[in-house]
Amino acid sequence: MPILQIREAIRDAMDEEMARDERVFLMGEEVGYYNGAYKASEGLLDKYGEKRVVDTPIAEAGFAGVGIGAAMAGLRPIIEFMTFNFSAVAFDQILNNAAKMRQLTAGQFTVPIVFRGPNAAAHMLGSTHSQAFESFYCGFPGVKVISVATPYDAKGLLKSAIRDENPVLFFESEVMYGVKGEVPEEEYLIPIGKADIKRPGSDVTVITWGQGVPVCLEAARLAEADGIDCEVIDLRTLRPLDDEAVFESVRKTNRVVLCYHGWPYGGTGAEVADRIARVCFDHLDAPVERVCYEDINMAYAENLEQLTLPTPEKALEAIRAVSYHRS
């Protein structure tokens, strides 16, 4: 099987869908002549031309809105945000138009659009460019939210997202575009709403997504030394949530650590913890632990940033705590 980087898997997904369906087009800052700020659209302009690979001005509210209008008119736009931090400028378009149009028009219009780009902290980008947006977007009824950590998942889920009739927010990561992995040559789709067990285990359920996945896999490896066998679940889709995959694992392990990029107050991790507490109450042997950002704005300084981010060591500490492990 070919080994691809995540950026190549994303490009291939867009390429295949653009070839398959002429309504699909890509729009965003630097997606065309520059081949994408992170080279995720390399070669697409040459192949499909300026009509289907559109360089925009720095005007997120504008091109997000144009994309939503195009989707309502029957096209299937892919809107690239150079980073989801800039989607804050287009927040109203996504919240009030993309997410609500289907309901506001009683189904006369659908908005089959994908907003994609890197999300969450990368490396020393400061407080305004290091934010994780799942906690905002997962709160919107009317959208789907995906976060990927491997080339295989990126390609299979992006293709499903482009074909979906609803607005989909698709999170990537600056620091993970180079992550490599096997991607089949033949076409495949990964259904939206299915979690994936990245590492089976029996003692602690470690729930994560996106950039948290490699952190948790490393924490699970470190926990082996303590004789703790972790099951790492990559949610992949954050809305709708794959409850059953989570519950099944928790009923087996009785212990849960959530580890992800994002602030601790409310949001996606809190939502998962809440569902577990209600549905799996009688199966819990320890309080659900969360490892995420510290409750502060991200520092630019590298050492302070490191202290803020979830790390394998912090996750290991939580894994030990829920296991009542004594060193």
Partner: protein, 443 residues
């Protein structure tokens, strides 16, 4: 209803503890978060802050008594409430260290009398699970076992206990704040219930004759402090598991003595000791010899990324090793200030567990006791330890002629699994060089 206060877990490795001092008396009002006692753990004396508010109805644990975590130590409640009811409903099965301390006339079992009410909830448990919802309409709405309500237990532990018809009061919890967790209930189920009885008493004194009468006094087993127990355990482990070897060298301390004299004038506010110089030199030498800043983890050698130097501090009843973190990145002045502060607080037993863990190498100095040289025991989790002797005036040979110079002997004890003689020797040579030319490490 009164609240039973249990002996909390105050450090990761704490299994039992001793109330060193009560800070409240019966009748005192206690607020949540208020310090109510000092608890001696295996590592330090920690302040125990109450998790609850109320009036102190009874102090169950006596000062100086050793108890497992989770043991009831006090009762809080409303003024005038009877503490015995709470105690009896709590210790239904016969808890570990019961009211021994100061239950005046009434031994614990007496309190069984009011139990007629409380244990009711326990009785129907054979039929409760299914019967409850249908019948029993008028009986107070939720048929929750009331005494279980106050016992901290994980939901899973509760379920397993329910399934096995086991009262949580009979289980002692090993989780934080004495929380009963899955393994506790499973162990209790496997055991079938009750706890183990107490130990036998000591013997009396006797006189013996052997031609003439001698007065014989009985041996007295000493009550061990938690620290003593920890030292016994770890040192026995070290001397059985770690294959030690020892390297001794003599350091010419003339330059160091001169430098310390100058520092006394230059830094009047900071007292720099010879041991501080040794600590800095050790940290710098570890930087050059990462093979010594390493330990055997059971399978392999782990080289430590950071240099945290432990400083052995003698106490009246033991020994404690506070840690100077990132010692190689600190100035002599910082080290001196920090060591003084750590030493003072170590003697007051006010160090936090974090300040006593994580060392990657230890320095033990008995020079102030006039010891010329000695062999220390490697601290498990480290690869070597440096034993520092006294600085003494000795007759030395200078260019073939006798002269008086200051000498200090240092001995490195090494874990042979981690390093060989030559590695330890190279480290010592670097260390000696730094101490003999101390300005080199201040550069």
């Amino acid at each position: 209803m009164a609240i039973i206060v249990e002996l909390p877990r105050l450090s990761d490795t704490m299994e039992e503890g001793v109330i060193a001092k009560w800070h409240v008396a019966v009748g005192d009002k206690v607020k949540r978060g208020q310090m109510i006692a000092e608890v001696e753990t295996d590592k330090a004396t920690m302040e125990f802050e109450s998790f609850d508010s109320g009036v102190v109805l009874k102090l169950i644990a006596a000062e100086g008594e050793s108890m497992k975590i989770g043991t009831p130590i006090a009762v809080l409640g409303k003024a005038g409430e009877d503490p015995e009811a709470a105690i009896s409903s709590r210790s239904g099965g016969g808890g570990a260290a019961a009211p021994k301390a100061e239950a005046p006339a009434e031994p614990a079992p007496k309190a069984e009398a009011p139990k007629a009410e409380a244990p009711k909830a326990e009785a129907p448990k054979s039929e409760a699970p299914k019967a409850a919802p249908a019948a029993k309409a008028p009986a107070s709405a939720p048929a929750l076992p009331r005494e279980d309500e106050r016992i901290a237990a994980s939901p899973l532990a509760r379920r397993i206990a329910r399934e096995h018809g086991l009262a949580l009061a009979e289980v002692s919890g090993s989780g934080p704040h004495g929380r009963i967790v899955k393994t506790d209930v499973e162990a209790a189920v496997a055991r079938g219930g009750a706890a183990s009885p107490a130990a036998p008493a000591a013997t009396a004194s006797v006189t013996t004759t052997g031609g003439r009468p001698y007065y014989s006094r009985p041996d007295e087993p000493q009550k061990l402090s938690q620290m003593r127990k920890a030292i016994a355990r770890r040192m026995a482990q070290a001397n059985t598991e770690i294959p030690h070897f020892y390297l001794t060298t003599t350091v010419d301390m003339r330059a160091a003595v001169a430098l310390r004299g100058e520092l006394k004038n230059a830094l009047p506010d900071t007292k720099v000791s010879f041991n501080d110089l040794v600590l800095l030199a050790t940290a710098k030498a570890l930087e050059t010899h990462p093979g010594v800043n390493a330990y055997w983890d059971g399978q392999t050698i782990v080289r430590r990324g950071d240099i945290h130097v432990g400083v052995a501090v003698a106490l009246d009843d033991g020994l404690i090793v506070p840690v100077v973190r990132f010692a190689n990145q600190k100035s002599l002045k910082t080290i001196a200030t920090e060591v003084r502060d750590l030493g003072t607080r170590a003697r007051d037993k006010k160090l936090t567990p974090e300040e006593m863990t994580g060392s990657t190498f230890t320095v033990s100095n008995l020079g102030m006791f006039g010891i010329s040289d000695f062999c220390a025991v490697v601290n498990p989790g480290e690869g070597a330890i440096l034993a520092v002797g006294a600085i003494t005036d000795e007759i030395i040979a200078v260019k073939g002629a006798p002269a008086v110079g200051q000498r200090m002997r240092i001995t490195l004890s090494c874990d042979h699994r981690v390093m060989d003689g030559a590695v330890g020797a190279a480290f010592l040579a670097t260390l000696r060089g730094l101490l003999e030319q101390p300005l080199s490490m201040l550069a």
